[in-house]
């Protein structure tokens, strides 16, 4: 959560561009990762991420702070955009081709070929998971959100998130083992 977020949100709601710019800077990378890991292609992830923030900016005046983190609103927009993306493409969640450039921009990634190969396998397996399994894995194990934060973002109870993440990891392991 961004420091002084409530005040920043209020200012953004009042039309202050700089305030929304702060929200953009803070949340854009994680929304981008979320989208990228769900669609698999850099260009599509960029396009969808842009649409998410454009929609958020346009709807900011009507944003109601109902006690949930601001990110949950962005994640919700992002989920809807990803769904629209697949619906428009009439694709049934295919496994996109691996784009090595995704990792080329990743600072700090080990250069070891084996590890890179593992990453590709995990990423490919993640793309084949059900959307809600993808969501919980990205939030809990990529973004390392707390159970409560993930529950808020997913609109579920903490208990439901625990169960969901367990099943999601099991499903991911099964896919990787099979491949």
């Amino acid at each position: 959560m961004l420091e002084g977020e409530r005040q920043i949100i209020k200012q953004a709601k009042d039309g202050e561009k700089d305030a929304f710019g702060l929200l953009y800077d803070h949340y854009q990378p994680q929304i981008y990762r979320f989208v990228l890991l769900k669609v698999g292609k850099k260009e599509e992830a960029e396009d969808i991420t842009h649409q998410v923030f454009l929609a958020a900016y346009e709807k900011m005046g009507g944003y109601a702070d109902e006690g949930h983190p601001f990110s949950s609103w962005l994640y919700e927009i992002a989920r809807n955009r990803v769904t629209d993306h697949y619906r428009a493409a009439k694709a049934d969640f295919p496994l996109p081709e691996t784009e090595s450039e995704i990792f080329a921009v990743s600072a700090g990634l080990p250069d070891m070929v084996d590890e890179h190969f593992d990453m590709e396998k995990v990423r490919g397996a993640l793309l084949t998971l059900r959307p809600e399994y993808q969501d919980v894995i990205i939030m809990r194990f990529v973004e390392e959100l707390s159970l409560q934060e993930a529950a808020d973002n997913l609109g579920k109870s903490v208990g439901a998130v625990k169960l969901l993440q367990y099943r999601a990891i099991q499903a991911l392991r099964n896919i990787i083992d099979l491949s």
Binding site: L36, I102, V142
Partner: protein, 134 residues
């Protein structure tokens, strides 16, 4: 393979800085939000409304003070009455022949009585009756 460690590594993925800068600029400056339009243009909207009302008021004054007021009410009334009469006459015309071209026995007998039947031949009577019915 340590799955959870691999998943953590995905957090090192960052959007291209060029894309981020361009997207940010386009989001914040590309489109104007409805609320911004409303907020920015409230004074303009009031000014336009006031100007519009001024034009309407001035236009009304112009017409009532000039052309319309110059018309004689008597001639207007006479014209209106003439229209009413025309309507009444038209109604009367329709009322006089409500059944269109129908010829009733009463009409025929009435027509016969108004004609000098003695001096007319059978064909002439028929043609006269046809003309009447028309």
């Amino acid at each position: 393979m340590n799955l959870l460690e691999n998943l953590k590594q995905f957090k090192n993925i960052h959007p291209d800085p060029g894309f981020s800068a361009d997207s940010r600029r386009r989001v914040l400056g590309g489109r104007i939000r409805m609320q911004d339009i409303f907020r920015a243009n409230v004074p303009m909207a009031f000014a336009t409304l006031a100007l519009g009302l001024l034009f309407v008021f001035a236009g009304t004054r112009f017409f009532t003070g000039g052309q319309v007021a110059g018309i004689d009410p008597r001639s207007l009334r006479a014209e209106a009455q003439a229209i009413d009469i025309q309507i009444q006459l038209t109604d009367l015309k329709y009322s006089s022949s409500p059944n269109g071209n129908e010829t009733t026995p009463a009409n025929i007998s009435g027509a016969k009585s108004s004609l000098n039947v003695e001096s007319l031949g059978g064909d002439e009577i028929d043609s006269a009756l046809e003309a009447l019915s028309d």
